[in-house]
Symmetry: C2
Subunit: 200 residues, 2 copies
């Protein structure tokens, strides 16, 4: 014996979610069915709507249900400055930090030859076409400081340089408020390599 | 700026789930929309079906989409022995331990005067009516060994004794403060074997 078929189906489906195993799925099922049916219907509807309607911005590739996302269609933002990131979550992080008022280009991943993910899979042709066609002054590469993120940044930088556009990489180093003794060696080496002269 | 409306709605709805905060909701949203749309549709459908069709067994009150659950309608099980538990998860834990071949009665909670949960809310009238009407020989109280679970067990024991039925409480092995659904099968079986009749 176990739970009834619809309950088993619900617990199985909840395990599609990252970080949700059998025990959490059971806890979620009991919570929804015993205490929050309204939440269950709401989540069902939200999943269906999003999975059906959310696509990618035709310009920056971020996730959105519009053809062109809110940022790309905002006339107050500087289309001459494009920040390249790996995921929509990176866009959100940068927006929440405030200060950047240019456009984005969202790779939706990074180069990973071992997984068969090449330049065309992360939209690099599209990025090059946009830089070539529009008046882009600078492309800021903000891929993650991981092996794949660095490789992706280098590949994009090499491709863009042929177009004569300015290409920069966000600085990596000791985070503000961080204490040197707790920072990993790789980050410290980045911080040293990226040192800048202090001038008055 | 943040995510588009349908994405925000999805992240909000995911936070209906216990243990899911803004960060996990974002991670789940990205996973579903970037890598597992099929999973999103499947989960949407499973939620809708379960929230719409799952009710309570008319006999034992457990969660099921049938009028009478699988256990209650199994002629091989002993209807003369009824185990009272707090939740459907407890039924599953006892079934997985194996060995118990009676029926269950699922309170779907416990007495909690502070939350306004009285005997009628946990189906005690229904339990008494069943014990009175059927040939029940023994009722095993397997509520959790918590303050509320103990209070609930004592209340039920007092009510049942008036009907002259044998009442026992599982005893050995279940650690105080522990919750039944997280106890291993061997310990649970010890608890059943070591049950003692409650006498005043
Ligand atoms: Zn866009
Ligand atoms: Zn039943």
């Amino acid at each position: 014996m176990s739970f009834s078929p619809l309950i088993v189906q619900l617990m199985d489906s909840l395990q599609c979610l990252p970080g949700v195993g059998p025990k959490s799925a059971q806890r979620m099922m009991l919570h929804l069915l015993e205490r929050d049916r309204k939440g269950a219907f709401k989540l069902s509807e939200a999943l269906q709507q999003a999975a059906e309607k959310v696509g990618h911005c035709q310009r920056c590739r971020t996730l959105t249900e519009s053809d062109i996302c809110e940022i790309c269609s905002d006339p107050r933002r500087d289309a001459g400055l494009v920040c390249v990131v790996e995921t929509p979550a990176d866009v959100l992080a940068i927006e929440q930090a405030g200060g950047f008022k240019g456009h984005y280009f969202v790779l939706m991943g990074h180069l990973s030859p071992i997984d068969g993910i090449g330049p065309e899979d992360i939209g690099i042709d599209q990025l090059l076409a946009q830089v070539e066609g529009d008046e882009v002054q600078e492309v800021i590469l903000a891929t993650n400081p991981t092996v794949e993120g660095e490789a992706t940044a280098h590949y994009i930088a090499a491709s863009l340089r042929k177009l004569g556009v300015k290409v920069s990489r966000i600085a990596h180093g000791v985070p503000l408020g961080g204490e040197l003794e707790y920072i990993d060696g790789g980050t410290l080496m980045h911080a040293f390599a990226g040192r800048r002269e202090l001038v008055d």
